[in-house]
């Protein structure tokens, strides 16, 4: 009799119940760190209008603007010169040295450095995706030899790279 009652209870449960099943899965993706940089030659001429006779004034050239899609943690900014810190005239073997300054904030700037080798800074953006701007300023250095007629030029390259988290 005990066995028969147990069977009855089981059958009642089976007849009255409906079952469901559930599961889950995760979707995820990472947006990589990235920084971007641009420059602007104010008035369209500032990048190429240095006054060669002025050896004491800091002269503005381009405005360099950068931003990163993250904050607080660092990036690497690299400033380099095509002519290793010299303005070069094809007719002048010596070149005209200059010291460079970048006025950008949030640890991106530096002051009065020769670009004979790369200058490295480590900006730490305060806020993601917000522009930070500064000027590239040059101070031409004195030299004892006279300059030669012609065009003195250099190309400064600025790169910014996010540091790995």
């Amino acid at each position: 009799m005990r066995n028969a009652l147990a069977l009855g209870a089981l059958l009642a449960l089976a007849a009255g119940a409906t079952a469901s099943a559930a599961d889950s899965w995760q979707i995820s993706g990472a947006l990589a760190r990235a920084c971007q940089i641009s420059f602007d030659c104010a008035d369209g001429d500032q990048c190429r209008s240095l006054t060669l006779d002025d050896r004491v004034t800091v002269q503005n050239t381009a405005t360099v603007t950068w931003q990163c899609n993250y904050a607080i943690e660092a990036a690497t900014m690299d400033f380099s010169s095509e002519n290793q810190g010299l303005l070069v005239n094809p007719d002048d073997d010596l070149g005209l040295p200059y010291l460079a300054t970048y006025t950008g904030g949030q640890n991106s700037g530096f002051a009065g450095r020769s670009l004979v080798t790369h200058v490295i800074t480590n900006p730490t953006p305060d806020t993601p995706n917000v522009d930070v701007s500064g000027s590239i300023q040059l101070m031409l250095q004195a030299r004892t030899q006279p300059l030669f007629a012609g065009r003195y030029s250099d190309r400064i390259t600025v790169t910014i790279t996010p540091e790995a988290p």
Binding site: A4, S20, G29, L31, A34
Partner: protein, 171 residues
């Protein structure tokens, strides 16, 4: 004949989950034969099972339709079953707040399509989940439906974005 040796009548009926058993002792004619049928019936309940795909990788910067795997399910009957989808973040991928993302959680809403059925933005609870009725063409046979999502706007702040999608199926 002693009391213990005397034949007894027994009636046992079992059906549809109802058991009635009784045993009645009653005198019976001596040496008379007897038999009784015992009817046993039962019902196997309708059930369905569902299996989610493994974890899926998406591109949080893409506005394209992105596949997020295939859900398989089977039922032990032919007919219809209701499949529900909801998510932990209510249809959003979220990158938790951290110093590097500005100290605020970053989220992006996505809409979901399951096997061609547009479910919109998922909710974060089963009770209010998106539902789609699945035709069960054959019992105990696997069927599946592909799921995809589409972000309403692209993530622009670096970080890891995620959500967990829940699915269940009911006969």
């Amino acid at each position: 004949m002693t009391e213990a040796a005397r034949p007894r009548r027994a009636v046992i009926a079992i059906g549809a989950g109802l058991l009635v058993a009784s045993a009645v002792a009653a005198p019976a004619p001596a040496l008379a034969g007897d038999h009784k049928d015992i009817l046993i019936t039962t019902t196997l309940a309708r059930t369905c099972g569902v299996t989610a795909p493994g974890d899926q990788t998406i591109d949080p910067s893409s506005l394209a339709v992105q596949p997020v795997g295939s859900v398989s399910y089977r039922c032990n009957f032919v007919g219809g079953a209701t499949l529900r989808l909801w998510s932990q973040n209510g249809g959003q991928i979220i990158s938790p707040a951290s110093p590097s993302n500005g100290g605020a959680p970053q989220s992006r809403i996505y809409s979901t399509v399951f096997d061609g059925a547009a479910l919109g933005q998922l909710t974060n609870a089963a009770d209010t989940s998106a539902q789609t009725v699945r035709a069960i063409a054959a019992a105990n046979t696997d069927q599946s439906g592909a799921a995809s999502i589409q972000l309403s706007s692209a993530a622009v702040i670096a970080g890891a974005y995620l959500d967990t999608i829940f699915v269940d199926i009911t006969p």
